[in-house]
């Protein structure tokens, strides 16, 4: 449980973290990172599917599932004139799920929602309507966390419905120093966020190899309040303009998000997943303070392959996966969308004879583009997700 404390200080440094409540994490469970994060129509049978609460209706009885993950990311930041490499490591998630009845399952998961870690050094900015300039040095830290309580129920043999209650909480700290003429003004702003959001999901098994799924994330308002201190240094003397002044600030709005997914198995060992999700950020009353938000489309496609069931050799039981993900982005910077595209490959390494497995995934992606005021991020990401099956624990006890 020591890992829990780490959630609140997840490290991810991106220049785009300046916007909104920071850069959003993609922390998917099980082998989802390997298949381009597609899987709205996948069941929570061998792992916890965090993409759709309805999947919990398909949990096997007597299985207690546990999932923990982390990522190592190497990013190259490129602007027109330079590039810089940064590595970072972060916790992805911690989750468990268990069947409540024969027809229903429940899960609790904790994961970071966003990271507002960024840094700006001595950025020269023009003073409007003048020939003069000022300089900004800024540092952002903190981020929001996501605590999900999900429940899925199976109606008959084919239909499951589910719901998630998400608690969003956390804070961001933004410290900026302005060098204006001969003075330095420092503004330290800590913004606290709290909000609740509901997600509804459904999955329907058309036949034993074909499932469709859908999710509706309900729009919500995350309440924001800030505590701000302003100090000014002039003539080498620091004077306080405002100290720990608490006030309300513009709330953060989360949009209606509608997702559809299909899952189809071919020849008993190849599975295809295809998802589409629309996020209506443009329809929220998002304040300009958070940036320019636009409607977002996400496409995800994935394949998994495993040779045979009940294989004798270990390597025959290993699953192989690949996927692609394309995302038009929700942010517009200087009228340019910050798009994101990636592909991924992965291995599902079974542990013992249970559903327990170690999922290793590698993905390469690009975010943003090189333009006047934009940068491109090229990233290599390795995800390690450990999915454990409770049956395994039981077995150890018996031994």
């Amino acid at each position: 449980m020591m890992s829990l404390s780490s959630f609140s200080q997840s490290i991810s440094s991106s220049p785009y973290s300046l916007y909104g409540v920071g850069s959003l994490y993609d922390s998917d469970f099980g082998y989802l990172p390997s298949i381009g994060s597609s899987g709205i129509a996948l069941p929570s049978d061998t792992f916890i599917n965090n993409l759709n609460p309805a999947s919990l209706g398909f949990m096997y009885q007597n299985h207690f599932l546990f999932d923990i993950g982390g990522k190592a990311i190497a990013t190259t930041y490129e602007s027109g004139s330079r590039s810089e490499k940064r590595n970072n490591f972060q916790f992805s998630h911690l989750a468990f799920a268990f069947p409540v009845t024969k027809n229903s399952g429940f899960s609790v998961s904790m994961r970071p929602y966003s990271s507002s870690v960024f840094k700006i050094s001595n950025l020269k900015l023009p003073i409007a309507d003048s020939q003069e300039y000022y300089y900004v040095t800024a540092q952002g830290s903190g981020g929001l966390n996501n605590l999900d309580f999900s429940y899925g129920y199976k109606f008959g043999k084919k239909l499951t419905l589910g719901a998630t209650a998400t608690v969003l909480f956390g804070n961001t700290v933004d410290e900026r120093s302005f060098l204006i003429s001969n003075s330095i003004t420092t503004i330290n702003k800590k913004t606290n966020y709290s909000g609740v959001r509901a997600t509804l999901g459904a999955q329907y098994k058309i036949d034993s190899t074909f499932t469709i799924g859908s999710t509706f994330k309900i729009p919500t308002r995350v309440k924001a309040s800030k505590i701000q201190s302003v100090t000014s240094i002039a003539d080498e003397v620091q004077s306080s303009i405002e100290t720990d002044q608490a006030s309300n600030t513009d709330d953060y709005y989360m949009p209606l998000e509608i997702g559809f997914g299909v899952s189809k198995r071919f020849k008993n060992n190849l599975n295809l997943t295809l998802d589409y999700e629309k996020s209506l950020w443009g329809d929220t009353k998002q304040s300009d303070l958070y940036g320019d938000f636009v409607n977002q489309d996400r496409f995800a496609l994935g394949f998994t392959y495993s040779s045979k069931k009940n294989a004798r050799k270990y390597w025959d039981r290993v699953g192989y996966a690949a996927g692609i993900n394309y995302d038009t982005g929700y942010l517009e910077v200087d009228s340019q969308r910050v798009k994101n595209a990636s592909f991924s490959v992965g291995l599902n390494l079974p542990i013992d004879n249970t559903f327990s497995s170690l999922n290793v995934s590698y993905s390469y992606g690009q975010k943003g583009r090189i333009a006047d005021d934009l940068i491109k991020e090229n990233y290599h990401k390795i995800s390690l997700n450990l999915s454990l099956d409770g049956i395994w624990f039981v077995k150890r006890k018996i031994e």
């Binding site: 300046l18 330079r82 000022y134 900004v136 003429s181 003539d235 080498e236 303009i241 170690l358 390690l384």
Partner: protein, 441 residues
């Protein structure tokens, strides 16, 4: 398998700790960055300028004998008389052990030696004349504060005890020597010789003081002399001896508080002739968009910021983080003869020109106007820059309706006669500028 999990947790723990340093050189959306905290520079704020006249400047104890007069083309006729009381350490002739010997002393001469203190103003290539007169009134202040002022005067005898006409060379020469009246010297010598003057009291009873008065006919320059090293020297010697060794008695200004300069300005016919009393002011709109400062005579320039409180309306929360006031001397109002001072002294005053203190920065240190000498073809950049951010931020936040003004003078306000002409906001070539840097938060 336990091992496996432990290893995994271990790896993840490491993951959470390490990250590369971010040099912060990559930023996206500079327009967005400027959004939450707006930084603006405003240079269109109204600045009012006017000229005021302090009724009295304490000119005693200023270490300078300021004498002379000159006709200023802008300000009018400037004149400074210098009054002082003399004294010496021993009111007796040399080795007055026996009366027989003292009888043999005879008076030789008396002269006044004035040491240049290198201050001058006006045209030093022209001849200046001044006279020494004897005071008929003791050097004693009328006021409770024991000061003499630029408008203080004492009565003196019309008879001149000595006169000099000379071209001042304050930079090249060390001093000037004025031969004084033999009758005056002989009389003083006899008083001491006959022991009628034996101490300070009897001396000041006999010689109350002297005043140096410039002659009105030669109006050319004003010169400064040192109070501490200027003196009246009486020479005497032994009668009928071969020895040429002269004896001397030096009378000096031992008490600097008993020396003052009476500085006057005749503004008749000038642009400043309607300058009102000290609690009022003369707007620059009535003086060709100019403000005036003159040391010694109490003419000072006042600057007001009538709309500064409107800054509160720019944003819900905002601060003036810096501001620069640039005052420009009017072209052709200064020259080698009337050089620009290196700095301006800045005071904070109220609407009745009552000074509360010097302008201070956030650290409590006095702020001066610093001269930018970078001259160009039209002298557009010659100006005094004053940092007024701290002052204006306080003015903006002030709860009461009262506003403070800045009152500008030249350094050495009480012991010199330098002057300057500054342009106001509507002046054609030498506009006063105010740049205010403001941030919303």
């Amino acid at each position: 398998m336990h091992k496996f999990i432990l290893i995994l947790l271990f790896v993840l723990t490491i993951f959470s700790c390490g990250t590369d340093t971010d040099t912060g050189e990559f930023t996206v959306g500079s327009d967005y960055l400027a959004l939450s905290n707006k930084v603006i520079m405003i240079d269109t704020v109204t600045v009012d300028m006017s000229t005021i006249n302090f009724d009295s400047l304490a000119t005693s104890n200023r270490s300078r004998i300021l004498i002379g007069n000159y006709d200023d083309p802008i300000f009018g006729k400037v004149k400074s008389d210098s009054y002082f009381q003399l004294s010496t350490s021993v009111y007796a002739l040399s080795s007055v052990g026996s009366d027989t010997e003292s009888v043999n002393y005879v008076f030789d001469s008396i002269s006044m030696i004035l040491k240049y203190d290198r201050y001058y103003y006006g045209d030093t290539t022209r001849v200046q004349t001044f006279n020494i007169h004897r005071l008929t009134q003791k050097v004693k202040p009328n006021t409770e504060d024991n000061n003499f002022y630029n408008n203080s005067t004492l009565t003196y005898s019309p008879e001149s005890l000595g006169t000099i006409s000379f071209k001042p060379r304050p930079k090249e020469k060390d001093s000037i020597n004025i031969q004084m009246s033999k009758e005056f010297g002989e009389a003083l010598f006899q008083k001491i010789k006959k022991r009628e003057v034996t101490d300070f009291d009897s001396f000041t009873e006999y010689l109350k003081g002297l005043v140096l008065v410039p002659e009105n006919s030669t109006s050319s320059n004003v010169i400064g002399f040192s109070v501490s090293s200027s003196k009246v020297r009486l020479y005497y010697s032994k009668y009928q001896t071969d020895s040429e060794t002269p004896f001397i008695i030096d009378f000096t200004i031992l008490d600097a508080t008993k020396q003052f300069n009476s500085i006057s300005l005749n503004k008749t016919g000038t642009i400043l002739q309607n300058l009102p009393i000290s609690s009022s002011n003369l707007s620059s709109t009535l003086t060709n968009n100019q403000g005036f400062i003159q040391s010694g005579t109490g003419v000072a320039c006042r600057v007001d910021f009538p709309n500064i409180k409107q800054f509160k309306n720019i944003a819900a929360n905002g601060a003036i983080v810096d501001a620069e006031l640039i005052l420009k001397p009017v072209n052709n109002s200064y020259s080698e003869k009337y050089p620009l001072a290196d700095s301006l002294t800045v005071y904070v005053g109220d609407n009745l020109n009552r000074i509360s203190g010097t302008l201070v920065n956030a650290a409590g240190t006095s702020v001066y106007g610093k001269l930018n000498k970078k001259s160009d073809e039209f002298n557009e950049n010659v100006g005094y820059s004053i940092s007024v951010g701290n002052f204006l931020q306080k003015e903006m936040l002030k709860q009461s309706d009262s506003r403070s003004s800045l009152i500008l003078t030249l350094p050495g306000i009480a012991q010199s006669v330098n002057r300057i002409v500054l342009g106001d906001q509507k002046h054609l070539n030498n506009k006063i500028q105010l740049k205010i840097y403001y941030i919303s938060y």
